[in-house]
């Protein structure tokens, strides 16, 4: 392969990429927007629960113990005052215990604990708070209550190591940058076919292999550099940088293969965007597993980008090493090579 020719082609493609005002604009806009969104998002986790409390029979030291658990207690003078404060939204939840709760529990009797939620309190959290109050009742009684509770940790157990929202989003931003690049590269190739310049290139000493090498280097380079810029600016490379760079590079390879496939079916820029958005949406689904752990089943692992998102997320946020990420990287490499190979095959047919 003549690398002088490949270099010439890469320089030409990068020049044309940034002369396409649409793609130059969305490239820079996306980078800036993701970085700005990152810095605007909270950088700390709010692990405290604010609860209004009316518990006339509460033992001494109870408040301090709960506050150590991250619960901020706001004492109310009466049950009516508690209901009024919750209704006014001063705190989202209020709980009222009977004055004789300890005696009843000691006698083995059940007592009623009244929980008041503010009007806009999310339904899905009401059960969680109910469990919190059962916990409080347990602490009051000093022994297990007549209930059976079971817990399951869904996704990564982040107990004690919760991730700020912006750091949870960061790997997704990086992956989005990579995926967006499929549009740019596919458009470059598609316009080359549409404008028939591919014919002019192929009657020079350039070989088809050189053409694919040039396009591949352009695609991988543009995607990788943008993702690295984003991760560097946002501090996403502070932990396990080499591992994350390796994952991003494989992700760039994957997105290049997908871009080849899109270019082979697209007829113009509009159809590139149509096919591209479809691919981006499909490949973004694994992002949900990071945003909402436990909400997605194992089927998501058939989507190649899962291994990219998962690796970058766990490396950037939990500092996993090569040992833990090795399997992910191998699968990602296999997917990237398969997509690249398939992309080359279908695009080659299109060139003919």
């Amino acid at each position: 392969m003549d690398w002088r020719i490949v270099r010439t082609l890469v320089v030409k493609d990068v020049t044309l990429y940034f002369r396409n005002r649409f793609f130059a604009f969305i490239t820079i806009l996306a980078l800036v927007a993701y970085a700005v969104m990152y810095f605007l998002m909270p950088n700390a986790v709010d692990e405290e629960i604010e609860i209004g409390l009316y518990a006339p029979g509460m033992p001494s030291g109870f408040t301090a113990q709960l506050q150590e658990e991250g619960v901020i207690l706001r004492a109310a003078a009466s049950e009516e005052a508690l209901k009024e404060a919750v209704g006014a939204g001063e705190y989202p939840v209020g709980v009222a215990f009977s004055a004789d709760i300890l005696e009843k529990l000691a006698a083995g009797q059940k007592d009623q604990v009244r929980i008041y939620f503010s009007p806009n309190f999310p339904d899905e959290l009401k059960d969680a708070y109910a469990i919190v109050f059962e916990e409080i009742a347990f602490m009051l009684a000093g022994r297990p209550l007549n209930i059976e509770a079971s817990g399951e940790v869904l996704g990564i157990d982040t107990a004690g190591a919760q991730i700020p929202p912006r750091d949870r989003m960061l790997p997704l931003f990086a992956v989005f940058v990579l995926l967006m690049e499929t549009l740019g590269l596919a458009s470059l190739i598609s316009s080359e076919i549409e404008g028939r310049t591919i014919g002019a290139l192929l009657i020079t000493p350039m070989r088809v292999e050189g053409l694919f090498a040039g396009k591949g280097i352009t695609g991988v380079g543009l995607a990788f550099v943008q993702a690295v810029i984003l991760m560097t600016v946002t501090g996403g490379l502070d932990r396990e940088p080499v591992l994350i760079l390796a994952a991003l590079l494989l992700g760039a390879l994957l997105s290049t293969g997908i871009a080849f496939m899109i270019a082979s079916v697209a007829r113009d820029m509009l159809s590139v965007i149509g096919w591209g958005v479809l691919a981006i949406v499909a490949l973004s689904v694994p992002a949900l597993s990071v945003l909402l752990p436990g909400t997605i089943s194992d089927w998501i692992k058939v989507i190649p980008s899962y291994y990219l998102v998962d690796t970058v997320h766990r490396a950037a946020n939990f500092g996993i090493g090569w040992g833990e990420a090795g399997q992910n990287l191998l699968i990602l490499l296999a997917f990237a090579l398969a997509f690249l190979w398939l992309g080359v095959i279908v695009l080659r047919r299109k060139f003919r």
Binding site: I5, G195, T197, P205
Partner: protein
């Protein structure tokens, strides 16, 4: 002995069941301009595509500069220039950038881009983006691009089709200059007058087959008829036309009788055009 720049032997190409080029055999000498004439769909562009390595022949063989087109297309492509029928320039790049790009791809370092643009009448417009060019300017730039590597064989596919007279003339001048330089020119065109003026020889291709191949003069001799046309004044005072076929035994007598009996106002001779000959050979026009 004159070297052959292009040689084809029973060259054939099929698109599925359709035979686009059907066992054509011809050769082109170095430094010769061959006009390759035929109507749309006759097989002109397919022939060029095979000779330039864009398509692999289904049957037969062809060599360009002694190299087999099916086996050494990249070596051939390094020594030829091709101007396509359809514009295929990088529209978001300037003319200069387009030419520099292809010069780099050909590995040519000492090409004078300004001189090249001047040759095709685009001097002073080289830094403008091609998207702002007219069709004629784009076509001239395509020809300039075909020259960046100083090709030994130049393939020009309909280089003047639909162009204004100035652009067409600029391209014709370049073709003649290239012949002067020693390059071989393979020219496909619809324009019979252009082919007549520029070509050393012309080949007529029809339905994938070469139906005639010779110099324009020889073709006219073989297939055309020369005539003498005269305008004579009638008794009523109007002008009438008389035609006498030349090169026949009775021609002398007919000319004498014309001048003796009629009041001749104007007289001129007329040669058969290549188009007339094409129609006569193929029974169809070039449209």
């Amino acid at each position: 002995m004159t070297q052959k720049a292009i040689v084809t032997e029973a060259l054939t190409y099929r698109y599925g069941q359709l035979t686009a080029v059907d066992h054509i055999s011809f050769d082109v000498a170095e430094g010769e301009i061959l006009g390759f004439l035929g109507p749309n769909g006759a097989g002109k562009s397919t022939t060029i595509k095979m000779l330039t390595g864009q398509l692999v022949p289904k049957e037969g063989r062809a060599t360009v500069l002694g190299l087999d087109v099916a086996k050494a297309s990249k070596k051939i492509q390094a020594q030829i220039g091709v101007s396509f029928e359809t514009t295929n320039l990088y529209e978001q790049m300037s003319a200069e950038e387009n030419l520099k790009l292809f010069a780099r791809l050909f590995g040519v370092k000492d090409v004078d881009i300004s001189a090249l643009l001047q040759r095709v009448g685009l001097d002073g417009r080289g830094r403008e983006r091609v998207e702002s060019y007219s069709k004629g300017m784009k076509q001239r730039l395509m020809v300039a691009r075909a020259l960046v590597n100083r090709p030994r064989v130049l393939f020009l596919d309909e280089p003047t089709e639909g162009l204004d007279p100035t652009s067409a003339q600029a391209i014709r001048s370049v073709i003649l200059e290239e012949r002067e330089r020693g390059a071989t020119v393979f020219l496909t065109t619809h324009d019979m007058l252009e082919a007549d003026k520029l070509s050393d020889r012309v080949a007529f291709i029809n339905q994938g087959q070469i139906v005639a191949l010779d110099t324009p003069h020889a073709l006219k001799q073989q297939y055309g008829k020369r005539a003498l046309k005269a305008q004579v004044a009638s008794a009523a005072g109007s002008l009438e036309t008389r035609e006498i076929i030349l090169d026949r035994p009775e021609t002398s007598q007919a000319v004498r009788e014309l001048f003796d009996r009629e009041q001749v106002v104007t007289v001129h001779s007329e040669e058969a055009s290549l188009e007339d000959i094409f129609i006569r050979i193929t029974g169809r026009g070039l449209a």
